[in-house]
């Protein structure tokens, strides 16, 4: 029983965090998000140079072969710096799917090295998501049809764009015609891979939501420490302190749930999906509380376009239902909890 991250994981996280702090500052993100495509090739290339896109590509295909547990840290960084969807979707969720294909599968050799070197942007459809994020911009899409999974070039699909209140999001409705040529998995295997896709997508959002919550907390702490009323910083008043203490509490409470879920995916636990849904519900709650309390302690400034808080709040609100809304995740946990065969109570928390 070892509930720790190793030095490599922690050092990598630290490096990515330091890198994004300078390369993905809010004022730069605002500029990128205001462009039509909303993405910067330059930033994407720099992120790839840091190794992030190669993180879970198997070593044989030019990557580092790290697992979900490392992504539980990295997705928090992506959330903290509000990095748009396609990075985690490509480098974590799509890579996870491709790496689960049999060793000789042509899609692996075709796509994984391009993901690792950062040249490929992918988008993923799944029945839990009505719209596909970054569909317009992706070179290749992973599309689900019944129990099949298809890998389809962008040129073979139509995308109808939709705008989100989160200016970083680029959502598209995808129409396409399935063909045998693009199908990479079906039947039992297709269903299993779709389930994995969903769990990784949901875990990725959980990590990002926690990162967003931490960012909103940090912004709020900075604000209440410098904003003065009645002759002193408003952060010295208990009513304000207690708002932010609650945010810290929900973030800290959710972190081990996220890590336990990531480990469940990596270890292939029978109830990994339930663990992921627990992590999602905890992270969803933490991020919405961080947004609500954050805007409250910012006063009217929090309601402005000018103050950065809005960027992170809107992203937290938008991601809330991505890769399964709360109803979906709550149903999964409740089906497990209220089933007669479920072993509950002390000692069952880390069951495989």
């Amino acid at each position: 029983m070892d509930f720790t991250f190793n030095d490599d994981q922690l050092a990598f996280r630290e490096a990515i965090s330091r890198f994004l702090m300078t390369e993905a500052a809010p004022e730069m993100l605002r500029e990128i998000w205001e462009t039509d495509i909303g993405r910067s090739r330059d930033l994407r290339n720099k992120i790839a140079e840091q190794g992030l896109t190669a993180l879970s590509v198997p070593e044989a295909e030019g990557g580092m072969g790290m697992d979900d547990v490392t992504w539980a840290l990295m997705t928090q960084e992506l959330g903290y710096y509000a990095i748009p969807d396609s990075l985690a979707d490509t480098a974590y969720v799509a890579t996870g799917l491709l790496a689960d294909l049999p060793a000789q599968h042509p899609a692996r050799a075709d796509l994984l090295p391009r993901i690792a070197d950062g040249s490929l942007r992918m988008a993923i459809s799944h029945p839990v998501n009505a719209l596909v994020s970054d569909a317009q911009l992706a070179e290749v899409l992973i599309l689900v049809h019944g129990d099949e999974i298809h890998v389809v070039p962008r040129s073979e699909v139509n995308v109808d764009n939709h705008l989100s209140i989160d200016a970083s999001r680029r959502l598209g409705q995808v129409t396409w015609t399935p063909s045998a040529a693009t199908c990479i998995a079906s039947g039992e295997q297709g269903r299993a891979l779709q389930a994995q896709l969903l769990d990784r997508g949901a875990l990725s959002v959980a990590g990002q939501l926690l990162g967003l919550a931490q960012r909103m907390l940090d912004l709020s702490v900075d604000y209440v420490a410098q904003r003065k009323q009645f002759g002193k910083p408003i952060g010295s008043f208990q009513a304000v302190k207690h708002h932010l203490a609650d945010v810290a509490r929900y973030i800290e409470q959710a972190k081990p749930v996220l890590y336990r879920a990531a480990h469940a995916l990596a270890r292939g636990d029978v109830n990994a999906g339930v663990r992921v849904s627990q992590a999602r519900l905890a992270a969803n709650e933490a991020s919405w509380i961080a947004a609500r309390k954050g805007i409250q302690v910012h006063g009217a400034m929090g309601y402005t376009w000018e103050v950065d808080l809005q960027m992170f709040m809107k992203r937290a609100w938008a991601l809330d239902s991505s890769w399964g809304d709360r109803g979906f995740h709550k149903t999964r946990v409740s089906d497990y909890l209220f089933a007669d065969a479920t072993g509950l109570g002390p000692g069952h928390t880390f069951e495989e």
Partner: protein, 387 residues
């Protein structure tokens, strides 16, 4: 990260489980807020000690097993999972014990720790005073030096089960004229010393759950002081840290309650589902209890990497106290009209246990530092907000 128990850890779990199955009395214990129940719990503690289960983390020479924190968590899971009773000497074993290990002299450790592990000495706390509650530095009870003794005068209050206890530890003002957290000493007082009088305070359950303790020229030898003269605040803060931290309220107890709540909901599903909020509350509290368990293991992991835990202890305290309250509130609402029934009538059945827990849960956000104080600590020490 590897969240798999080792074969040794699994064997330890099996050993605890086997022992409890053979030794845990089947009939429920009486309330420890009564003389009869208190002695029943003390006898159980002695039985735990005889098989070296009372303090698994303490070294073998003190009657423990030298277990690490993971084994301790496993012990707690099996203990509360089996429905074993609340531990009655936690003031001593979990609060004073670690304090003695850190600040006590060799002589003090020898004198107090083995008897504490065996619950031959039962300990009460002496922090609060009528005008020193959340503001503990307002303590006025005095300990005046007189040769090789302190002479103690003053009053302590809210001391849980002090009328049944053998010893009290707490803070006393030993430097004349000192104020706030300066000039306090951490002193252990035998409660049978002449000049000590104890007056029970009836709690809302009608039982003598806590007490006022009066000191009238009580003479206590100097070697009952822990740490240096006037350094009591420093010693006490370490004690408060243990209390709020990992040890005092391990997750297993709350996981066991969460499981019982799921069972209660299932048994009353038809009536409970008339209020859609109840199913949600059961789900929510179960997830919170699980999250608290995961957090305990994660904290152990962080400690093993040499990290310190600080204000996270305050987060834990808020989590378990609010969780316990919400679980019992939910149970009361599921029980409906039976919820108010105390243990005597035929209709009460399992409801009475929930009622008792519900009453006790009201105290959770208050004792061991109110949750408002905890939120101040989180805001000031973890988030760095100004005082």
């Amino acid at each position: 990260m590897d969240l798999t128990y080792t074969p040794k850890q699994n064997a330890f779990r099996a050993e605890v489980r086997t022992w409890l199955a053979a030794n845990l009395p089947r009939e429920p214990f009486a309330s420890y807020d009564s003389r009869e129940g208190f002695e029943q719990h003390r006898a159980w503690e002695a039985k735990l000690f005889d098989s070296r289960w009372s303090m698994v983390m303490w070294p073998a020479e003190l009657g423990g097993r030298g277990s690490d924190l993971i084994e301790w968590l496993i012990f707690e899971e099996e203990y509360y999972g089996a429905g074993a009773p609340m531990r009655i000497n936690q003031n001593g074993q979990l609060l004073l014990g670690p304090t003695l290990m850190e600040f006590g002299t060799q002589e003090q450790k020898q004198r107090f720790l083995p008897r504490m592990a065996a619950s031959l000495d039962m300990w009460a706390q002496g922090w609060s005073e009528p005008n020193a509650g959340s503001d503990m530095a307002a303590i006025t009870s005095k300990a005046v030096l007189d040769g090789d003794h302190y002479v103690i005068n003053g009053q302590k209050t809210w001391s849980s089960r002090a009328i049944y206890a053998d010893w009290l530890f707490g803070l006393f003002r030993s430097e004349p004229g000192s104020t706030r957290h300066h000039g306090l000493s951490f002193i252990m007082v035998p409660l049978n010393t002449p000049g000590v009088s104890i007056r029970p305070i009836k709690a809302l359950n009608g039982k003598d759950a806590f007490a006022e303790v009066f000191f009238d020229d009580v003479r206590v030898p100097l070697n009952n002081r822990i740490g240096a003269e006037g350094q009591g605040w420093h010693v006490a803060m370490a004690t408060a840290g243990f209390e709020r931290g990992l040890l005092l309220r391990s997750p297993a107890r709350f996981q066991a309650t969460a499981r019982k709540l799921v069972e209660l909901y299932k048994a009353h599903r038809v009536s409970a589902d008339r209020d859609p909020g109840l199913r949600d509350a059961v789900l929510d509290t179960w997830m919170c209890a699980e999250a608290y368990a995961m957090s305990a293991y994660y904290t152990v992991g962080r400690l093993s990497r040499g990290e310190q835990i600080g204000a996270e202890s305050s987060i834990n305290k808020i989590i378990w106290s609010e969780l316990d309250l919400k679980m019992h509130e939910t149970a009361m609402r599921i029980l409906g009209a039976r919820g108010e029934l105390v243990a005597k009538g035929a209709q009460a059945g399992d409801a009475a246990g929930w009622l008792e827990g519900f009453l006790f849960a009201q105290s959770g956000p208050i004792y061991a530092g109110t949750n408002e104080i905890q939120r101040n600590i989180i805001a000031e020490r973890m988030l760095g907000l100004p005082k």
